[in-house]
Amino acid sequence: MINNPARELYSNMDIDKLKPVQEETKGLLSKRNSMSMPSGASSEPAFRVAQHMLIYRKQREMLKNGRTFT
């Protein structure tokens, strides 16, 4: 029985392989998405949590390496 699922959940996130979401371009000729809900991985809650984690981890690694962030 797992009393504390935090370790397993954290390990299973596997955010090292996660690609950051690219911002959409705003040009006139840019590809437009439909008005409906976004499809694919970005609509998954776990994916959005992983994106937040990625930001924190990057900042943490910067702190580890002795670099300051703004």
């Binding site: 504390n4 699922p5 935090a6 370790r7 959940l9 954290y10 390990s11 996130m13 809650p45 776990a46 959005r48 949590v49 992983a50 937040h52 984690m53 924190y56 981890r57 900042q59 943490r60 702190l63 580890k64």
Partner: protein, 160 residues
């Protein structure tokens, strides 16, 4: 004769409380993961929360245990559901580790399994023996200590 336990709760007594009176029985305050993420990031970044987290980590409590306690407390307070708590839990771990790095303290992340790192000494000894046998080296056997019978020292004992 065994006395009846009159102080013990009646079976089903836990279910007799009014439904919805407990925080976890009412709809959660934050129903989506995004709301829960906002809640935790803002809550954990306050100076009071940060200092408390630092104190707890300095005591040697692992980050994973602390994160689990925080999210369980929020479930009990009716902040979010168990499902949302499970999804947000890795983020809480990451935020706590970030705070610890920011403060520059040594902390136990709780991510390494203690059981896995421990090597059974008996297994190691068995491997060593097998390797020695393969190499043709004589296997060192522990010297057998012969037990010497104690001589009776009583008054009626037979004398040599």
């Amino acid at each position: 004769m065994e006395e009846p336990l009159l102080d013990a709760p009646i079976p089903g007594q836990a279910l007799t409380h009014e439904l919805g009176a407990r925080p976890w029985q009412s709809p959660p305050q934050y129903s989506t993961v995004d709301e829960a993420v906002d809640y935790y990031t803002s809550r954990l970044s306050t100076p009071e929360a940060t200092s408390q987290i630092i104190d707890i980590l300095k005591m040697g409590i692992p980050v994973t245990s602390l994160a689990n306690t925080i999210q369980m407390g929020s479930i009990m307070d009716g902040k979010h559901s168990i499902d949302v708590g499970m999804l947000v839990l890795p983020l809480i771990v990451e935020v706590i580790m970030f705070i610890a790095e920011q403060e520059g303290i040594d902390y136990d992340d709780g991510l390494t399994d203690v059981k896995d790192n421990k090597t059974n000494e008996a297994i190691l000894e068995n491997i060593r023996t097998q390797m020695k046998e393969k190499a043709g080296e004589p296997v060192e056997e522990e010297p057998v200590v012969e037990e010497t019978p104690e001589e009776p020292t009583g008054l009626m004992a037979r004398r040599a």
